[in-house]
C-alpha cells in the first residue's frame, strides 16, 4: 500500500484512539483558550443586565441529560446573573427529563446567594405538551401549573401573587435541545410577543439565525462556546470556560484528520494520472 493510500484508509480505531487522547490532554495539561464574545450572546447578557431588581424573568430548562454538557453551564451562568442582580426567575421545564436537572441547578445557585424559593424565585416543574403549556402560560400560569414543583399552590407563593401570565414577565430564555425552542418562537413570541432569547446546542445553532435576523429572538447562545462566552461576560466560574480547551483539542484533531484525508485524496488522484 502506497503512502497516500495509507492516508486515505486510516483504521477508525486509530481515529478513536487519537481523539480519546485529545480529550484527555486538557485534563492533564491545563491551558487557557481565549474566547471571543459574539453579538448574539452579548445581547442576551445586556438584556438581563438592564433589568431592574425585582423584575420577573422566565428561564426554561427545556433539555435532557444528553445535552447537559452544553446547556447546563448556560443555565448556571444565567441564573447566577439573575440572582446577583436580584432579578426573580420563574423556572420551568418542558422536557420530561429536565425536572431533576432544573431543581439541581436552581437550588445550587440559589443557595450560593441565600435566595429563598417562593420569595426570590419560583420553580414550577415539568408539564408535558410544550406548545400547549406555552400557550396556557400565556393565559395564566395557574392553568398549567396550579402548584409549584414542591406542591405549594401558586396563589400561596408570595412572588407569584401578582404574576399571572407573560404580561407580568420581562422576558424569556429557553435553553433547549429539541423542538420546544420552535414552540417558544411560534407561540411565545408569535402569539404573545414575549421578548425571547434561546440557548441551544451547537448543532442546532445554524437553524436559529433566521429568527435572530427577523427579530423573533433577541439573542442566541449556541453550544458550549456560547456558554463560555456568557461565563466570560458574567465572570462566572463555571464549566463553559473549562470545557473550551477540550473542544479545542478535539477540533484540532478532527481538522488534522480532514487535512490528512485530503492530502491522501489529491496524491492518489495525481498518481492515477
Amino acid at each position: 500500500m502506497k503512502w497516500h493510500e495509507k492516508m486515505l484508509n486510516i483504521d477508525r480505531r486509530w481515529i478513536y484512539l487519537i481523539l480519546g487522547v485529545a480529550v484527555i490532554v486538557p485534563a492533564v495539561v491545563s491551558f487557557h483558550v481565549p474566547v471571543n464574545v459574539t453579538p448574539e450572546v452579548r445581547r442576551v447578557y445586556d438584556f438581563i443586565e438592564d433589568l431592574k431588581p425585582g423584575d420577573i424573568f422566565y428561564v426554561g430548562i427545556d433539555y435532557d441529560p444528553a445535552s447537559l454538557a452544553e446547556l447546563h453551564p448556560m443555565a448556571y451562568a444565567i441564573l447566577d446573573q439573575c440572582f446577583r442582580k436580584d432579578i426573580k426567575p420563574v423556572v420551568a421545564t418542558l422536557s420530561q427529563f429536565g425536572a431533576g436537572m432544573a431543581e439541581q441547578v436552581l437550588s445550587e445557585v440559589a443557595a450560593e446567594y441565600g435566595k429563598e424559593s417562593g420569595i426570590d424565585y419560583c420553580y414550577l416543574g415539568y408539564k408535558p405538551y410544550p406548545a400547549i403549556t406555552i400557550m396556557l402560560m400565556g393565559v395564566d400560569f395557574r392553568v398549567p401549573f396550579p402548584q409549584d414543583y414542591y406542591g405549594t399552590p401558586i396563589d400561596s407563593i408570595p412572588m407569584m401573587r401578582y404574576v399571572h401570565n407573560f404580561d407580568d414577565l420581562k422576558g424569556v430564555i429557553s435553553l433547549s435541545a429539541g423542538t420546544s425552542s420552535e414552540f417558544w418562537i411560534i407561540y411565545g413570541y408569535g402569539r404573545y410577543f414575549m421578548p425571547l432569547a434561546l440557548g441551544v446546542t451547537g448543532v442546532m445553532a445554524a437553524d436559529y439565525y433566521p429568527y435572530l435576523q427577523s427579530g423573533q429572538i433577541f439573542g442566541l447562545i449556541s453550544g458550549i462556546k456560547g456558554a463560555a462566552e456568557y461565563e466570560a461576560l458574567t465572570e462566572y466560574k463555571g464549566e463553559g470556560l473549562k470545557s473550551i480547551p477540550y473542544q479545542t483539542t478535539t477540533h484540532v484533531v478532527i481538522l488534522a484528520f480532514i487535512i490528512v484525508s485530503n492530502i491522501g485524496y489529491f496524491a492518489s488522484r495525481r498518481s492515477k494520472k
Binding site: V23, N36, G100, M135, L136, Y150, D207, I258
Partner: protein, 206 residues
C-alpha cells in the same frame, strides 16, 4: 361510521381553532382553554396504553427471545424501580432515592451515549470531507472555517469570527429561510388536507 365520526371531529375542531386564533376575546379564550384541557385529557388517557404496550412487548421479548432476556429484564427492572421510587411527592426533592438514581444513573448514561457521537463525527468527517467536486469543496471549506472558530489563531481569530458570522447569517440564513418557507407552506397544505378529510393516514389502515 368508525371513520366518519373522527373525520367530523377533526373538521369541526380544525375550523373552530383556526377561527379562534384570530379572535381575541374572553369567549374565544374560554374555547381555547377548554380545547387544551381536552388535549391533556386525551394525552393522559394515552399514557396507560403506552405503559401497557411497553410492558407487554418487553415481557414477550423476554419470553420468546432467550438472547435478549437479560436486556428485557434490565429494562423492566429499571421501569419498576423508577416508578416505585418516584411515587411520593417527596421523591422529587434533592437527596431522595429517585433523584439520586436520576442524577447518578440516568444523567451519566445519557451524557455518555451522546459523548460517543464525537468519535463517530471524527471518523465521518475524515471520510466525508474530501474535495471530490466543487460543491464538496465548498462544504469542506465552510466546515473548516466554522470549526476553526474554536481554535485560537491569534490575530486571525477576529477575521475568522467575522467570516463565521457572515456564513451563518447570510448563506446559511438564505438557505434556511427558503427551507422554512417551504416547510411552512407544506404544513398549511397538509393541515387543510387533514381538516377536509383528504389526508386520512392518521386514522390507520383499518
Amino acid at each position: 361510521m368508525r371513520r366518519q365520526i373522527p373525520l367530523y371531529i377533526v373538521l369541526v375542531c380544525g375550523i373552530v381553532f383556526v377561527i379562534q386564533f384570530f379572535i381575541p376575546s374572553h369567549e374565544s379564550e374560554f374555547i381555547f382553554e377548554y380545547g387544551q384541557d381536552w388535549v391533556m385529557v386525551i394525552g393522559i388517557l394515552a399514557l396507560p396504553l403506552g405503559i401497557w404496550s411497553y410492558l407487554r412487548k418487553t415481557w414477550l421479548t423476554a419470553v420468546k427471545k432467550p438472547k435478549e432476556r437479560f436486556f428485557a429484564g434490565v429494562s423492566l427492572f429499571g421501569f419498576a424501580i423508577m416508578m416505585l421510587t418516584g411515587l411520593k411527592r417527596e421523591s422529587l426533592m434533592a437527596g431522595s432515592l429517585y433523584m439520586e438514581l436520576f442524577e447518578y444513573v440516568l444523567i451519566p448514561i445519557q451524557a455518555t451515549i451522546f459523548s460517543l457521537l464525537a468519535f463517530y463525527i471524527a471518523s465521518a468527517a475524515y471520510r466525508a470531507f474530501r474535495a471530490r467536486s466543487v460543491i464538496a469543496t465548498m462544504l469542506l471549506g465552510t466546515a473548516f472555517i466554522v470549526m476553526l472558530r474554536l481554535i485560537p489563531l491569534g490575530p486571525i481569530s477576529d477575521v475568522n469570527q467575522a467570516l463565521v458570522g457572515w456564513i451563518l447569517s447570510v448563506p446559511n440564513m438564505a438557505a434556511k429561510r427558503g427551507l422554512l418557507i417551504g416547510i411552512g407552506l407544506g404544513a398549511i397544505a397538509t393541515c387543510i388536507k387533514i381538516i377536509l378529510g383528504i389526508e386520512r393516514t392518521y386514522l390507520g389502515r383499518d
